[in-house]
């Protein structure tokens, strides 16, 4: 389990890992050793809670870092090219998780909708209910945004590789 926790900690921004990574791992280890003699169910619950906590924590930290960068770029007026610009690869994992969650929720919603008997009398003219149109279109909607996000990430990654963002470091003053 320790290996999994280590991997999950790697999802955090580097700055956060440097500050708290070791401490967090120490807390997780201590928690695990103190729960070693507990029932399997309790240990399973602990692992689930910690895994979810680390995933959500990493997500929050990435958004927090983004927020800070946005604030800084607004303050300095430098939107397109900023020093230390980075787009974390773990974002793809989060995007996949969010897409998966959304699709599962939609499927559940469809299952519930189909299990409830239709109490409305049938209409003479067949009109597709609005909710079924929405539910049908939502996976497409999410897939579209997922694809757009991936393309955006690829572009930013390519720009980063090409060193365009380092133009921000170029000074007009001769050294």
């Amino acid at each position: 389990m320790l290996a999994v926790y280590r991997k999950l900690l790697r999802l955090y921004p580097a700055e956060h890992r440097e500050l708290f990574g070791e401490e967090m791992l120490a807390v997780l280890l201590q928690e695990r050793s103190e729960n070693a003699d507990h029932r399997l169910m309790d240990r399973g619950r602990l692992v689930m809670r910690e895994t979810a906590g680390l995933l959500m924590g990493a997500l929050r930290e990435h958004f927090r870092v983004t927020e800070i960068h946005e604030e800084l770029s607004f303050a300095t007026g430098r939107f397109a090219m900023r020093n230390g610009f980075r787009f974390p690869k773990s974002t793809i994992l989060f995007m996949t998780l969010i897409l998966g969650g959304a699709l599962v929720a939609i499927k559940k919603g469809q299952d519930i909708a189909s299990s409830v008997p239709d109490i409305n009398p049938p209409l003479p003219v067949h009109i597709q209910p609005v909710h079924s149109i929405l539910l049908g279109g939502m996976p497409l909607f999410f897939a579209f945004f997922y694809a757009a996000g991936l393309i955006g990430w690829a572009i930013l990654f390519a720009l980063r590789r090409s060193g365009v963002h380092r133009l921000a470091d170029v000074s007009g003053e001769p050294k």
């Binding site: 401490e23 967090m24 201590q30 910690e50 979810a52 990493a58």
Partner: protein, 118 residues
């Protein structure tokens, strides 16, 4: 009339505190504590109702550090990975503001409920 001074913009925006943050601050109010001790203390204080994960705890600690409500506390012979935290004077002041706010609400609620019952 306000019973307490909330002139600081940062303080006004931060209050009211969420229950986990309030419990973390209360945990540090008595003495400096390290991460695991805070987790256990929060669980104990809330009678097991609030159980923080490590990720949630360190997210909250990070924010509190950034806002200067808590600080790292250097202990002698601290084992690796066991960092203690303590309240800063600002953190203590803000915790007191929150307690005053809660007291005021409790007083008002008690009064209103009593009036309704009579």
């Amino acid at each position: 009339m306000a019973l307490y001074d909330m002139s600081s913009k940062a303080t006004t925006e931060s209050l009211p505190l969420t229950e986990p943050v309030l419990l973390i601050l209360l945990s540090l109010a008595g003495q400096p504590q390290h991460g695991y001790a805070i987790l256990k203390d929060v669980e104990r204080m809330s009678s097991g109702r609030v159980v923080l994960s490590t990720g949630t705890l360190y997210g909250a600690l990070r924010r509190l550090l950034d806002d200067d409500w808590i600080e790292r506390y250097e202990e002698e012979e601290t084992p690796r990975g066991r960092q203690a935290y303590r309240l800063t004077p600002q953190g203590r002041r803000n915790l007191q503001l929150e307690i005053d706010r809660m007291k005021q609400i409790t007083r008002l609620a008690t009064l209103r409920v009593a009036t309704k019952e009579s």
